[in-house]
């Protein structure tokens, strides 16, 4: 009889079967633990302490399960799928969707489920491909903004004094303009290219996030355990990374999801005005082009707008769900 080697640890399983299968098997083993409050697996009964530590995370995932949030997550999932797999999802290729054809402004039909727009481009295809441009501009821009906003906010809030004053005045100057106008001017100087959009939104976002993080840092500094860490001799680095930063994580995450929606709306507005990157497929651009044929070909201008709404709605729903799930006052639910 051949002795079977029993897989004992997750590391072994990972080596043998690969990461994804390990992930799924972990999920399968723990699904009851994650989703049912009050369930304790047998092997953890003896280790209640570890279980208690995990309890808040379980509750968090449990609270995320409200219907609207799941709808939001579903929308985001579909959106990311559109963005990544656009060439395989849509029947028409990128060149067909940005090219010329004789098929202008046809009503919805078999070949074009939502009709065609100017130059015979398929509306549905452009909806699918448009997800790419919106997401690729919004996400890196916000990551840039969060990264530098954290730096500025932590330096400003932690060290205080005149550094705080000067940095916050500079951020106030950036916040003194409505965003769309600053971006308009910056784009008109440097040209309407995708990378410049990312940079412009990133720079503008730094002001907002640094303010947010500075507020969190100031609050965190008052906490007793932070004071205790200081008294017991923690140096600056350790204070910041271990004690203060974890407290700032929460509002930043929530603001991040809402801001992605905001950037997508703002981008749509810019491309509506004609300032977008014309080599990209943008929903706002479609709306602008379709505007002149609103009365005889309404499908061209209406569907991109619906897509924008669904996209931003997805982010808003997830943001709302996160905010409600993380709310400390509702910890008892």
């Amino acid at each position: 009889m051949i002795e079977e080697h029993v897989i004992e640890t997750y590391e072994e399983e990972r080596e043998q079967k690969g990461f994804i299968r390990t992930l799924f098997s972990w999920l399968g083993k723990n699904i009851k633990f994650l989703f049912v409050p009050g369930y304790i697996p047998e092997d953890l009964v003896a280790r209640r302490q570890k279980f208690e530590m995990l309890r808040s995370k379980r509750k968090f995932i449990r609270r995320l399960r409200s219907t609207l949030t799941i709808i939001g997550i579903g929308i985001l999932f579909v959106l990311v799928t559109f963005a990544i797999f656009a060439p395989w999802i849509s029947e028409y290729s990128f060149t067909e969707l940005t090219g010329l054809s004789w098929n202008n402004w046809r009503p919805p039909s078999e070949a074009h489920p939502l009709g065609t727009t100017e130059y015979g481009r398929d509306v549905l295809g452009r909806l699918v491909w448009g997800a790419r441009s919106s997401l690729t501009i919004a996400l890196p821009a916000l990551l840039f903004a969060v990264f530098f906003g954290v730096i500025v906010g932590v330096v400003s809030g932690y060290f205080g004094g005149w550094v705080d004053g000067i940095l916050m005045r500079i951020m106030d100057v950036f916040l003194a303009f409505p965003g769309i106008i600053l971006i308009l001017v910056m784009i008109s100087i440097f040209g309407p290219r995708m990378e410049y959009f990312m940079l412009a939104y990133g720079i503008l976002g730094i002001a907002g996030y640094s303010r947010l993080i500075r507020g969190s840092v100031l609050q965190a500094k008052e906490l007793p355990y932070v004071e205790a860490a200081r008294v017991s001799g923690a140096g600056h680095f350790r204070m910041i990374f271990k004690h203060i930063l974890p407290n700032t994580f929460q509002p930043v995450l929530i603001s991040f999801t809402f801001d992605i929606g905001g950037i997508i709306l703002s981008l749509a507005g810019l491309s509506f005005l004609g300032y977008g990157d014309s080599s990209l497929i943008e929903w706002g651009n479609d709306i602008a082009k379709g505007r002149y044929h609103l009365y005889d070909a309404p499908w061209a201008a209406l569907w991109p707008g619906v897509m924008i709404i669904i996209t931003v709605l997805g982010f808003m729903l997830v943001g709302d769900g996160l905010r409600d799930a993380l709310d400390p006052r509702l910890k008892n639910l």
Partner: protein, 350 residues
């Protein structure tokens, strides 16, 4: 009085921010392509002529002197001449012609959005988790996700195309309820320029038909622009009301026998309004941006439209003036919001 001192302190803080904003505009405008002198010259001007104008405008001076001259010009209203939009026209006149329209649009939108939004937010907080609450919340959530220009277009399509067609089909009457574009009907003359605000001017000079006409043309743009702000104000009011209603002093007020109406309006609302006012102040910025989009959709000749065209054509002086004006408005609105804070919450004044 500490309120006055508070106001004074806020003004003192705003001044460096305003100067910082002017500096940013200066830097950006110097980096823009486009020649400031072309506003003052015919197209076929000689080089000497151009050089003379450059010296007149002070463009050959060192940058620091240009900077101070720039600030002086901006603050005294000497905003130069437009080169592309309407050649040779002083920018001050051009903006003063259009700025009141944008201001009317924005002010009306803020008013409508605040009034309806705060009441809606209180309503949903009172009936939380019931069907009415869910309906309004869903509405508000969708409202925050709608792009302004698309909403305007939707209103144009449904209210100026589908609605009259339906009315005609059902009742045979060919009537236009809402005007699709424009800020006034074509044949009407402008009222005499007393304040520049055509609503006030038409009222004051007795031409009521003009007043009604302007209001009529403002309905759809204001509806579109205020819808989004309304949604966000509702959301914010709801969440801050919920937070405030859990406080102990509300329980005390109820225990002491206050009527629920009074509890909500005089105890809870004042405290809940503080974050809401932040949102209203912030929304003003997005309203200004949204006014740009709304003006493009409805073809209202306002300052937003002017800014877009100026940026597109690199009209140096117009861009400077409009961006400066926008920043000024934003700073002033923030100042007003801070003062309102101080009025509402005495703790902040100290």
């Amino acid at each position: 009085m500490s309120l006055l001192k508070y106001i004074f302190r806020r003004i003192l803080i705003m001044i460096p921010v305003l100067f910082g904003a002017i500096t940013v505009v200066f830097i950006l405008s110097r980096m823009m392509p486009g020649d400031p002198t072309s506003a003052y010259l015919p197209v076929n001007a000689t080089i000497e002529h151009r050089e003379a104008i450059r010296r007149y405008l002070g463009l050959d001076q060192p940058l620091i002197i240009q900077y101070f001259r720039y600030i002086g010009d901006l603050l005294t209203g000497n905003w130069g001449l437009s080169s592309n939009i309407s050649k040779g026209q002083p920018v001050w006149d051009l903006i003063w012609q259009r700025f009141p329209r944008t201001l009317e649009l924005t002010l009306f939108s803020v008013l409508v959005a605040s009034l309806i939004g705060i009441r809606a937010g209180v309503f949903t907080a009172k009936h939380r988790n019931k069907a009415k609450d869910t309906a309004v919340r869903g509405f508000a959530l969708v409202g925050v996700s709608i792009p302004v220009f698309w909403l305007g277009m939707l209103m144009q399509y449904s209210l100026t195309y589908m609605l009259p067609n339906w009315i005609e089909a059902v009742w045979g009457v060919d009537v236009k309820i809402f005007p699709a574009v424009g800020y006034k009907t074509a044949g009407y003359a402008d009222p005499p320029m007393i304040t520049g605000f055509r609503l006030i001017d038409s009222l004051v000079s007795g031409k009521l038909y003009l007043f009604v006409d302007y209001l009529h043309h403002l309905i759809l743009p204001v509806l579109a622009l205020s819808f989004i702000t309304l949604a966000s104000i509702t959301r914010q009011t709801r969440s801050s009301m919920l937070e405030v209603l859990q406080q102990d002093y509300i329980r005390t007020a109820r225990a002491k026998g206050c009527k629920e109406k009074d509890v909500v309006s005089s105890h809870a609302l004042k405290n809940a309004l503080i974050p809401t006012i932040t949102i209203i102040g912030l929304s003003f910025g997005s309203l200004l941006g949204g006014a740009v989009l709304t003006e493009t959709t409805f073809n209202l000749k306002g300052m937003g439209n002017l800014m877009i065209n100026a940026i597109r054509r690199y009209d140096y002086f117009v861009i400077n003036a409009t961006v400066f004006l926008t920043a000024l408005i934003f700073v002033v609105v923030n100042l007003l919001m801070d003062v309102l804070y101080g009025l509402l919450d005495p703790r902040i004044r100290f």
